[in-house]
């Protein structure tokens, strides 16, 4: 398919901007002006609509079918929350309005959403207060790491290192490093949990904190988390909870109760906001009481008369991490979702996410290697080791699933499992869908043994086959220039 610039027809027009008679030419000095217009496409509105409609048909989303991409929680995104986010009362609101004199009163509805979202997240996570500003999960991690640094600075602690388990998401070590910390990796034990003895050996006065996901990226709940948190607190380290896998915990277990001091929540995972083809997301960060003073500027407060205000007077704060109040449109969708589900609904989310994952795990156990066979939470991780002996790797299985109408699971992650296939069904999928997926996985496992070439040549039903990624990296073609 041609790129949009190749479809351009000189002189063709799309949307015409408004003109106004009787305004003087701006008279800007020529040296300040561009010498030729940007070579943007010249297309009719219909051309543009057709182009992007065609592109959309070359894309697979949750609305197209089952999307068990492990660790990404690709649940259904309710249409209602999309509609709410489009209300002009929210979408047309200028972010600087509350910073005008008496301007806060002009955005009371939006401030109410932020205030109530903070309260809901506190209750769900067991934390003292949240900042809603982080613009993504990884942005929340960086914010959290900066709060860790501010805490230790105040206490004149000389801390240099953040501990991270080997099964962690790549963003954890990257966020810690960008906040100025060295990273020390803690290995997993034979059960897939953090090796507590290795942790004990790594702990010393230079440890600023530990970043942990629980359940971890294998979908396993770490039963030692309380012990781990006591150990880390023993050297005045802080416990950071990566909320990527919070979905199966809702109503059952709160990070605050597990001993975590800082938490980020991926609203786009747990609270059903759309992933947008890779963002925008939102990664609010919650902290325990002693860290509230470090949260970024500003926070939303409530006055005795019930009105809301923005609190900029925060002398201990780490400062400004976002231009305004966070990805408001995403916060709004998550807020609407929490309102709709309520306490009972959130509990059902955790139950069905866990049930669906365990159902898939049990059904596929006879056909694929399961490195850790305990009860899982939101996801289960298989290894394609057995199929690899026949020349069929996790990637081949992924491509064969594509031909059968499914989005593949996450493959080759976590790094601790060879030929990993990480399956996260989420709570919004039905038994029928899971059964169809299971049947496809069983068929693929059988073919891998009998006719492996039928798997390794997949996908055959897509608009392109497997693409040459080496060529893409060696001879980068990153833009269509005129």
């Amino acid at each position: 398919m041609k790129v949009i610039f190749e479809k351009s027809v000189p002189g063709r027009r799309g949307v015409r901007p408004v003109r106004q008679e009787g305004c003087p030419p701006p008279g800007i000095q020529p040296r300040l002006l561009r010498d030729r217009p940007a070579e943007l496409p010249q297309l009719s509105e219909l051309d543009v609509v057709r182009h992007f409609t065609e592109l959309s048909r070359r894309n697979f989303g949750v609305d197209n079918g089952f999307y068990p991409l492990g660790s990404c929680t690709m649940k259904y995104n309710p249409k209602m929350t999309e509609q709410v986010a489009g209300y002009a009362g929210f979408s047309s609101l200028h972010p600087l309005l509350p910073q005008l004199p008496r301007g806060e009163m002009l955005g009371q509805g939006a401030l109410a959403v932020l205030y109530e979202m903070d309260l809901a997240l506190r209750e769900i996570c067991g934390m003292a207060a949240f900042t809603l500003q982080p613009l993504a999960g990884a942005h929340g991690e960086l914010t959290g790491a900066m709060i860790i640094a501010a805490y230790h600075k105040d206490r004149a602690n000389r801390k240099t290192t953040i501990l991270i388990p080997d099964s962690a998401h790549g963003t954890n070590p990257a966020s810690a490093a960008i906040a100025g910390y060295q990273v020390q990796v803690i290995p997993s034990d034979a059960n897939g949990h953090m090796d507590v003895e290795a942790l004990r050996a790594a702990l010393n006065d230079r440890v600023a904190g530990l970043m942990l996901t629980n359940p971890n990226t294998l979908g396993l709940f770490d039963p030692h988390v309380k012990q781990i948190s006591d150990l880390v607190h023993g050297v005045d380290g802080l416990m950071y909870y990566d909320g990527a896998n919070l979905n199966p915990m809702l109503g059952y277990c709160r990070p605050g109760d597990m001993g975590f001091d800082i938490v980020h929540v991926n609203l786009h995972k747990t609270f059903a906001t759309p992933h947008g083809g890779g963002g925008p997301g939102a990664g609010p960060v919650g902290v325990c009481e002693k860290l509230v003073k470090y949260l970024p500027i500003s926070l939303v407060g409530e006055r005795p008369d019930g009105s809301y205000f923005l609190d900029y007077d925060r002398p201990h704060s780490i400062g400004y991490i976002a231009p305004f109040y966070g990805n408001f449109g995403i916060l709004l969708r998550a807020y609407a979702y929490i309102l709709a589900l309520g306490r009972e609904g959130l509990l059902r989310v955790a139950q069905n996410a866990t049930l669906n994952a365990n159902y898939v795990m049990e059904k596929l156990k006879p056909y694929y290697d399961l490195p850790f066979g305990r009860i899982c939470k939101h996801e289960c991780v298989f290894s394609a080791r057995r199929q690899a002996e026949h020349g069929v790797g996790a990637l081949d299985i992924a491509k064969a699933l594509i031909d059968r109408g499914f989005h593949p699971p996450t493959v080759y992650f976590p790094l601790t499992v060879p030929e990993a296939m990480m399956i996260e069904p989420t709570e919004t999928e039905s038994k029928e869908t899971l059964d169809a997926f299971i049947a496809a996985m069983i068929e693929i496992a059988e073919l891998a043994e009998t006719e492996p070439q039928k798997i390794t040549r997949c996908p055959t039903t897509t608009v392109v086959g497997r693409l040459d990624e080496t060529r893409a990296a060696r001879h980068p073609d990153l833009s269509s220039l005129q």
Binding site: L135, A138, F328, R348, E469, L481
Partner: protein, 443 residues
């Protein structure tokens, strides 16, 4: 339960088949860490949620005649933009890890990267960052990596919102951040020459700057390059329909806030940080990048590429901790630019500049009102110097449903009487006349 498909009977059936009870499925959580349920209200029907949010939305004042900008602008959004972007094949997908079923998003990002390059006259762009402020911070970090130096000069005409963000992010990293005071609304060349030295990694400027003033930075690019430093330019994409591009001025890294490209103001986000640079620096760039390649049959296709820079491969050695981009916002910007097209963007930029010029003229007719920087040129935003405190005027005009502009004293001590006024194509001549009249009456 809303959004959960399995019936209670199906759940029972599934539990029976795997030989577990629901309670057993949570038995791995030690009893002392189990919650006793959440203290949040019971669920609501869709109708109830929408009623509640309709009421909250009504408590926001959006029917003001707005002259508020400050880097975030109320531009007209054509109907085809949300119509295309709300196709759920785009918005319910995730990062294109499986390129064969993600060609839609991948090709759109490639086209977006191309559009950003054409707009800024740069060579390569990434798949986007969170917003203009984090993009500027990432540009600073990128310059530090490229040069291996530790000093950065940021001019005080760069958005104060972004400067405070950069200060926050760099505070623990042993980076020397110097803010140079501007002169008559533009970066002070003399001051910059005094500050720059062979330990400087980058000079950061903005065009049009926070005061709305237009500048030409070729001299600063030459100055930076003479000292082995990079020039980072933050810019306002709509202005590039008319205004000289950072690429043509010799900038090394160009960033900006893409909100004006079809993305609603939405109380501060989600927005779009764009970033472009020159070819030699591409492997030092943060964020996702899409490249064009071919499949086994020679068919053109698109993939995420140069991933050896990124956190999922490099972990603590990555160029940034960013995981995704602002995919849907980048798509929005691409669709918007495609609909406006080559001619449309030029006309739009002209209209904004003409209306601002008209507004400037009308407001200067008011006794006691003058331009703060009369010798400067502006695109669609300018600083009025009022005979009284800007805060007072803003307050009075709000009562008459005008958002008069932004009081600069909030970020620039001593500028009590300075009002930053922005004019987009959405303001009519009639509204501008009414505004001028109301402002005159308020003095």
């Amino acid at each position: 339960m809303p959004y959960i498909a399995n019936t209670p009977e199906q759940q029972e059936e599934m539990l029976r088949q795997i030989g577990r009870s629901m309670e057993e499925l949570f038995s791995d959580i030690p009893p002392d860490q189990r919650s006793s349920g959440l203290d949040i209200p019971p669920g609501r029907t869709e109708q109830e949620v929408r009623d509640r949010l309709t009421r909250l939305a009504a408590r926001n004042k959006i029917d003001l005649i707005g002259f508020l900008g400050g880097g975030f602008y109320d531009h007209f959004i054509p109907a085809a933009v949300p119509a295309i972007v709300s196709r759920s094949e785009f918005y319910t997908a995730y990062t294109p890890y499986q390129p064969e079923i993600s060609q839609g998003v991948l090709q759109a990002i490639y086209e977006y990267q191309s559009a950003i390059c054409r707009l800024t006259e740069m060579e390569v762009a990434n798949a986007s960052l969170y917003d203009g402020g984090t993009a500027l911070y990432e540009a600073v970090m990128m310059a530090l990596r490229i040069t291996g130096r530790s000093r950065v000069i940021v001019d005080d005409t760069v958005s104060p919102i972004y400067r405070t963000m950069i200060r926050t992010y760099t505070s623990n990293l042993g980076i020397e951040l110097e803010e140079t005071p501007s002169r008559d609304g533009l970066p002070d060349r003399e001051k910059l020459r005094e500050h720059i030295n062979d330990r400087t990694a980058a000079v950061v400027v903005q065009n049009p700057n926070f005061f709305g003033c237009l500048d030409e930075f070729s001299d600063l690019a030459a100055l930076a390059h003479r000292h082995g430093a990079l020039l980072i330019v933050s810019c306002y994409p709509i202005s590039l329909g008319l205004v000289k591009t950072p690429g043509a001025m010799g900038a090394d890294i160009v960033v900006g806030e893409g909100q004006s490209l079809g993305i609603p103001l939405c109380f501060g986000g989600p927005y779009l940080g764009f970033m472009a640079t020159r070819q030699p620096y591409v492997r030092k760039m943060p964020g996702r990048i899409v490249g064009r390649t071919v499949d086994g049959q020679g068919r053109q296709g698109f993939v995420l590429t140069l991933q050896a820079r990124e956190q999922h491969i490099r972990r603590e050695k990555a160029t940034s901790n960013i995981c995704t981009n602002e995919g849907l916002c980048a798509l929005t910007a691409l669709v918007y630019l495609s609909l406006l097209g080559k001619q449309g963007l030029v006309e739009l930029a002209k209209t904004c500049a003409e209306k601002a010029s008209y507004a400037g003229g009308r407001l200067l007719e008011i006794r006691g009102v003058r331009m703060r920087f009369p010798q400067r040129y502006f695109f669609n935003e300018f600083v009025l110097e009022l005979p009284v405190a800007a805060d007072r005027v803003i307050r009075r005009l709000l009562e008459q449903a005008f958002a008069a502009g932004f009081p600069l004293v909030r970020y620039y001590p001593g500028m009590e009487n300075s009002l930053l006024v922005a004019v987009t194509e959405k303001r009519t001549k009639e509204e501008i006349n009414l505004f001028a009249h109301a402002l005159e009456m308020s003095l």
